[in-house]
Symmetry: D2
Subunit: 227 residues, 4 copies
């Protein structure tokens, strides 16, 4: 599996117009430029239809926003792991709050991704769900309390205990899984605190993908963790 | 909305390995070559991750295998119409038997596609569902009895009345929607009979997308309807 | 199929505490009392777990809030038509806005219900979806614009054209299906106008099921259509 | 939460005609008779529409086959915990292979059930999913490899290691959760072996619910674990 240096900053492009098609490429290139300048690991998660374009335009890791379980053949309209490999992906998000999955399908997708050497980041909405996700042995879990998503309130400020508790609970069942902190990350301070509290990175979306000045926002985000 | 000459042959690439990534491009190029040689309208429906690549490699219409309703912004992991436009698509399949949709979502997706000037082909599993789909005013409906999908039994041979009845019933509620015949189309004879029975085209998958000699199969399929 | 006199007033109990368990029985008995007193046809739709109790306590028609397609045997946790018959139901709602169904499943459930002599009321969220639902030949369609559900704004006041247009459009494809008007019905005036505009009845929920004085509300609702 | 003596035998009635409506009551009464005669804890899981009838006819624990998360009010057509309490249930199955749930919904339903003092049995399809389910702290997990469901092949014979491995893995994360063995249990020998291998009970369906002689089958099943 691809080795990423830590901490890891993952930018979910969602379906923002500013992060679709050719603009997805531009945004990914901004991410790459900042990653290099600051020596920080940044990964991007554009829409499925943009994966090929983006992964061929940048050298940083590219994640899909979703992957279905299932083997090639049937599954019209599904997003299979084999297609992600062909599109040049490093891995995929799973179970995002906007694309919840059945427990059995999350596990099947993680196994399939393992087999294909794709990384998996399973999103979760509270500490217990994060622990459950961690026992499935994905590459990472990303804790995203729904009440903070897109709220502008930082998880590291509003609910620092969500991170510390979750880290403690996850480490009892899984020593190796990466723990990302999602929801409400908007500034470099948020990132710094999230790392300090024991997470290995952050997953964020709107602060970067909706911004008119993404380059500036990105620099502000990673400056406190620059090498 | 894009005007397609009739009859229309739509090739669903499903998730076959022979029709994924660079191979999706090769197969689409074969489709284009046959379309030109025989003067027949052929459209292709590759996986979402291959849409950009394919639509930039060929001049024939490219359809997505699925589209979700919803407007840009949220909807992580969904396939929005705006992304299909960016990827160069002519339209999309909806409600394929392997990707069934809620009635309200089919209608919302058809309206959204209309607004974006994308064509819509709504798949259906029996005459009454085809009529219901037709009343929503998509560009086309494709009748695919599940018992014939991938069976090798031609719908035009096994169940000619599925086509004639469906055509009659649909025309009572919608004079303009294209009617495609799906499931069990494998030979030029099947295509010819399907057209003769009143459909304006066919939707097929495995006969072409799983074939080792797709060029040959394609030629055989369209020869009887060549201009 | 059970013959109901028209107009028909259907009360959806949803999952309100005031309409659950023994309280569902009491509310259904109030509905029956008012139905008799005013000579108006009232049907009730309690939760699945209350169907047996309610249908054995009252003589008015009892509808389920949902039914899955599928035949007895597997389908753990599903609500099959055979179980509804055993529980004494007259019919079922399908595709309620809080329980949307796939198009193919709506059609399969309507066919199954027909076979079991159960009535079907398919809910729909706009005129075109109502027409699509009507072509499937359920016993009734109930138009419920989502923007009015639980809003306190009457569909008959705010959007009279939703009813008249929908009635006109439905009658072009189906002369016999009952047309119910849902969403925003709170008073007898609303009911009267809904009937006047061409619907054969109403589907409502909160105005009755959340009320502290359901008997009073019910009387007010049906007084203008009393015989 | 209700205390059940161990080992626990749970009979899923699925939607078998022999276990629906009045016949569900008869079958539950057979279960109760055998439970008393042999001093073994037997619980039954009839369809939602039969819960009230069955729970008022027998003194043994009655489980629902499914429960949705969510609080009273909206949720037309859903099965809420409050309704299960009203119907006299002891608890509910969750995530049965025929009614898979999203991970976040399983967790929310377990929390809701806890709050309502309802027991929860989360079904799972392999060891890792069982561990994930166990971390959510339900009352019990039931391991049901899909390849054995309804196959007539006993999980205790065909795959004893599924039980022993799962027990070992679950105990590392949860010392208290009950572990049930499902799928392919048809005889008393199966039950005995399942218990011997470390499970605290079994979950079975067809062997009892489809049988013409359920009383005989039940006696055979529990005889080896009789007190």
């Amino acid at each position: 599996m691809a080795k990423l240096s830590l901490p890891l900053v993952v930018i979910n492009f969602k379906t923002y117009p500013q992060a679709t098609g050719e603009k997805a490429v531009l945004l990914a290139q901004s991410c790459e430029a900042v990653a290099k300048e600051y020596g920080v690991s940044i990964a991007v998660a554009p829409q499925v239809s943009d994966l090929y374009l983006v992964s061929h335009a940048v050298g940083i890791p590219v994640f899909s926003q979703h992957m279905d379980p299932g083997d090639p053949g049937q599954y019209t309209g599904h997003v299979l792991g084999e297609a992600l490999v062909e599109a040049g992906c490093t891995g995929t998000l799973l179970n995002h709050s906007e694309r919840r999955m059945q427990l059995a399908d999350i596990e099947a997708a993680v196994r399939k991704a393992e087999h294909l050497n794709l990384m998996t980041i399973v999103c979760s909405n509270n500490p217990l769900v994060s622990v459950a996700a961690a026992t499935i042995n994905p590459s990472a879990v990303a804790v995203e309390p729904p009440e903070l998503i897109g709220s502008g309130i930082s998880v590291s400020k509003a609910k620092p205990e969500v991170i510390t508790n979750t880290v403690d609970m996850i480490r009892k069942v899984n020593k190796e899984v990466l723990i990302l902190c999602g929801a409400g990350i908007t500034t470099g301070d948020d990132v710094k605190i999230a790392i300090k509290l024991g997470s290995q990175g952050v997953l964020l979306a709107s602060a970067v993908a909706k911004s008119n000045k993404p380059l500036e926002v990105l620099k502000g985000l990673v400056a406190p963790i620059a090498k």
